[in-house]
Subunit: 208 residues, 2 copies
DNA sequence: GTCTATACGTAGATAGAC
DNA sequence: GTCTATCTACGTATAGAC
């Protein structure tokens, strides 16, 4: 690649990011399903047809946001769970991962809605966009298994049901927070505060 | 009221119910936010302007559905919790109430979405429509308090946090079920199956 | 890569005849 | 209580000039 095409690629990536940012801002005001291409175009200073140079359709924008959001959320949880403070302590890793999940979701509420609920009628994420979610669940399972190996949790904690219950409890906190107290700051929130007690319920039940 | 106006009132109520039913059916196919008045009118065999005889605006239809749904959900939970099998057993009443909540939500998924999430940009329920929700939480609190009185639960179970945690766990199960396994029959469902274990987590933690 | 022009459809809501 | 006609606005998407 020569310098010219590099610059062109960088510029293109910048515009793409601008479009996605504008789409998110509009979803904040008009709802996730209420985003319109005309409004996005206005906000980035383009006419609607120009957007089709960057995304082939409206659902492609949703898919790009889903993909990026799933990747970011995965990374946030992954980072929290492999941070030096919790190295070698799987239970602390679970707690920190859960906290990171809630924190990220409150920082990115509209993308979190896109990930957790299905607010857009015609849209389902592509397999590629969905992949980081599966990866995140697999990693959670691995951490739980490590806790079982280390004698910290009962073997039943590594069953399908127990893992699903863990993720459901966390998703429940996020859902309630976003729906019923959406304006709270990350780290705050009437329902987000319930996360630690909720995780405690789970850990107590499955402790060995 | 004479016979004539009675009949007129009955007819009017019937039409109103028909319109609401059509709106719900359309939400099943097009998403909660995707319902349109034109489509509703087509389905009930009217032209769009005629709907304004029954509802002053589109959000009024959402509000009517919210009001009816909140009332029905309250009644279902209330009934389950005051059924003869569980009379005098507050813990069984809590379990049965939670089951009824999940069952109703799966039987009425689009209205459940309207109640649990906020899928429609311009719409917030009126106080009157929201009232049964508050009543339902108050009744849950009362049942928990009865369990504490009877020595079945620790006094900490009656705190604000504990009550909120109870409702959050149940709402979490419903949210996950509706978002990730929406086609399951009521009484079935990958996430709905987690309800009993989830309630058990809570009961165990707060037992005296 | 961005534009104008346009196709084609839809929306929510109101006026006023019947 | 229902209609026709209409307003006003918006939407996604494509064709084709520049």
């Amino acid at each position: 690649m020569d310098t010219f095409s590099d610059r062109r690629a960088v510029r293109r990536q910048g515009t793409t990011a601008e479009i996605l940012a504008a789409a998110v801002e509009l979803m904040v005001h008009d709802g996730v399903a209420g985003m319109s291409l005309s409004a996005v175009a206005r906000r980035v200073g383009m006419k609607p047809p120009s957007l089709y140079e960057y995304f082939p359709s409206k659902v492609a924008i949703y898919d790009a946001l889903f993909a990026r959001g799933a990747r970011e959320l995965h990374d946030a949880v992954h980072w929290a769970g492999s941070n030096p403070d919790v190295a070698g302590d799987p239970l602390a890793a679970l707690r920190e991962g859960a906290r990171a999940y809630v924190r990220w979701s409150m920082t990115n509420p509209v993308v979190a809605q896109l990930l957790n609920w299905r607010p857009v009628p015609g849209f389902a994420p592509s397999d590629a966009a969905y992949a980081p979610n599966l990866e995140m669940i697999a990693e959670t399972r691995t951490v739980i298994a490590a806790a079982v190996e280390g004698g910290l949790l009962d073997p039943s904690a590594a069953t399908e049901e127990a893992v699903l219950l863990f993720t459901t409890v966390i998703a429940g906190v996020v859902s309630q927070q976003l729906a019923n107290d959406p304006l709270a700051a990350p780290g705050d929130g009437r329902y987000a505060r319930l996360l630690d007690p909720a995780v405690t319920l789970w850990l107590e039940h499955y402790k060995s």
